[in-house]
């Protein structure tokens, strides 16, 4: 079984997983409206790290927060990060893309390459292996976890360190603005008045290993799947094709009643949330509570799959289904069980669901103590 050994989140809500969970549980977010930031003519709402706090001429902010997050995750483990039996998998959509701006001259252009960014990280830790960078749009964070599961199952490594990261910039914000995908206010996942997404910075790490026996309180990554809509490179499928198929494979023969919740992608765009409601209904999971964390963090892109999995594990540990911040009234065709209040649960498993540009979708089944 593939087991989670340690984890960490670095975000505007804190630098430990515990601090992040506490903030989310109490309904806090770092979402703010920015007007004129980075020379952008249109205002936007985002959850951003303090860039001055990470200013450095040796490492970019992405590299720094990955190194920080991985370091903190490894703190109470006995993982020898210099061993060839340890693999790094980084999940990111745009990495150091802000270096393409001619006005940003601090680093050599080669650091725009995701592999170079990842090597900065493995070099810091003295790890001898070539890092794997998963860049599969917004589902990267779950893909990276599925990759980790596969590498561990194959026996090639003893530990896989998965770190998802993305940091916002004019490049990314302007791009989503050109798609008219951003909400002028704090986002409202699954809500009837939702107007689009917010964006966010974060780095999140999970360390995985393979074990034959697992304790009741150990988190097991049971099954994951990635499927494509085969429909359009940016618009979600009207039948939720890829999302439904990924969900079906991840769920497998697990009874839906055993799921505490589905943590959806829930970006609060008109199309995504509608599509997810279709997919969840098709998969026979309409009775399972659904939530979205985008109202606390914004969309953290390459970090999202990892960050949202960690928060979800902590919620189950806390016997809690986190409320969907920003949600008031259901605004999708298929009735989903969404609430803006925290709710109690005794269940011990959840599914993390994501979708991304390129028609890709991913689902991951996590169960405390494994499948029983």
């Amino acid at each position: 079984m593939i087991v989670c050994v340690a984890h960490n989140i670095i975000s505007p809500l804190g630098v430990t997983s515990a601090d992040n969970y506490a903030a989310v549980k109490s309904g806090r977010s770092a979402l703010k409206r920015y007007d004129g930031l980075w020379g952008l003519p249109e205002p936007f709402v985002a959850s951003l790290l303090d860039r001055d706090a990470y200013a450095d001429d040796r490492q970019t902010i992405d590299e720094k927060i990955v190194i920080d997050s991985v370091s903190r995750a490894l703190e109470n483990t006995s993982v020898d990060v210099t061993s060839s039996r340890v693999l790094f998998i980084i999940s990111t959509t745009k990495g150091n893309v802000f270096l393409l701006d001619k006005r940003a001259n601090a680093f050599p252009q080669e650091r725009v390459r995701l592999g170079m960014m990842a090597r900065e990280v493995t070099r810091h830790f003295g790890n001898p292996n070539e890092p794997i960078v998963v860049s599969n749009a917004c589902i990267s964070g779950v893909c990276a976890q599925i990759e980790a599961m596969r590498y561990l199952e194959s026996g090639a490594y003893d530990y896989v360190i998965v770190c998802g990261v993305d940091v916002q910039s004019a490049f990314i914000v302007s791009g989503f603005q050109s798609f008219k995908a951003l909400s002028p206010d704090e986002c409202k996942p699954f809500d009837a008045n939702r107007q689009g997404l917010n964006l966010g910075d974060a780095a999140a790490t999970i360390v995985f290993t393979k074990k034959d026996k697992v304790g009741d309180n150990e988190w097991v990554a049971c099954r994951g799947a990635i499927r494509n809509d085969a429909n359009h490179i940016s618009g979600p499928s009207r039948t939720g094709e890829g999302s439904y198929r990924a969900l079906k494979v991840a769920l497998g023969d697990m009874e839906p009643e055993k799921l505490a919740f589905i943590n959806a992608h829930g970006t609060a765009t008109s199309y995504n949330d509608e599509m997810e409601s279709i997919a969840i209904e098709r998969a026979g999971l309409a009775g399972v509570p659904v939530n979205s964390l985008k109202g606390y963090y914004g969309h953290t892109m390459g970090a999202a799959g990892v960050l949202e999995t960690i928060i979800s594990m902590q919620a189950v540990d806390d016997h809690n289904i986190l409320g969907t911040r920003g949600f008031d009234t259901l605004g999708v065709t298929h009735p989903l069980d969404v609430s803006n209040q925290n709710r109690a649960t005794e269940k011990r498993a959840f599914i993390k669901l994501l979708s991304g540009f390129g028609g890709c979708n991913a689902a991951l089944l996590m169960a405390k103590g494994g499948l029983r």
């Binding site: 725009v112 390459r113 004019a170 540009f357």
Partner: protein, 184 residues
Amino acid sequence: MRHSVIITPDHVIVDGNPLMHNEKGSVLLTELYRNHIGDYPKFFKMDTLSKLGFIASELLLNAEGNRSFEPREDRAVILFNRHASLQADTAYQATIQDPDNFFPSPAAFVYTLPNIVTGEIAIRNKYFGETSFIVIDDYDEKIIMENLKNAFQDPMTTSIIGGWVDCSDEEHFEAKIFLIEKEN
């Protein structure tokens, strides 16, 4: 490996046999489109990485033969490269670089993710299976093959279009992809 395709700015090789062509560089990609595909106008909206991967996959699938375009979930598309979506990123950056000529282009932005090429291949062929993209800083066949072998752990995947599809700018690109079946 049952089938393979190599495309560089100068060469095109399908299953070990050179394919005739007159052009080189970016014009070569257009020539290949017109001579071997021709019925997919969306091609002209693609960035160079997507054009490269799309054409390479078309030649690969033509080599396999029996093209049906019937929806299937058992074939994965898993590609690797060094430069991610750099050519598309550079093209998009140009639309926002100058504050006095600031017109972010959605058509350019959508290609600023390396996995879009896998989506284009999935759409063309109605592949509902796994699509993924991985970046490593040097071409490494061992890493690629190990990763593709691992992908067969998905219980439904029986074949994979996998390999290297890289592009740093419109005139510099390289594709080396394979059609791999589970039994191999």
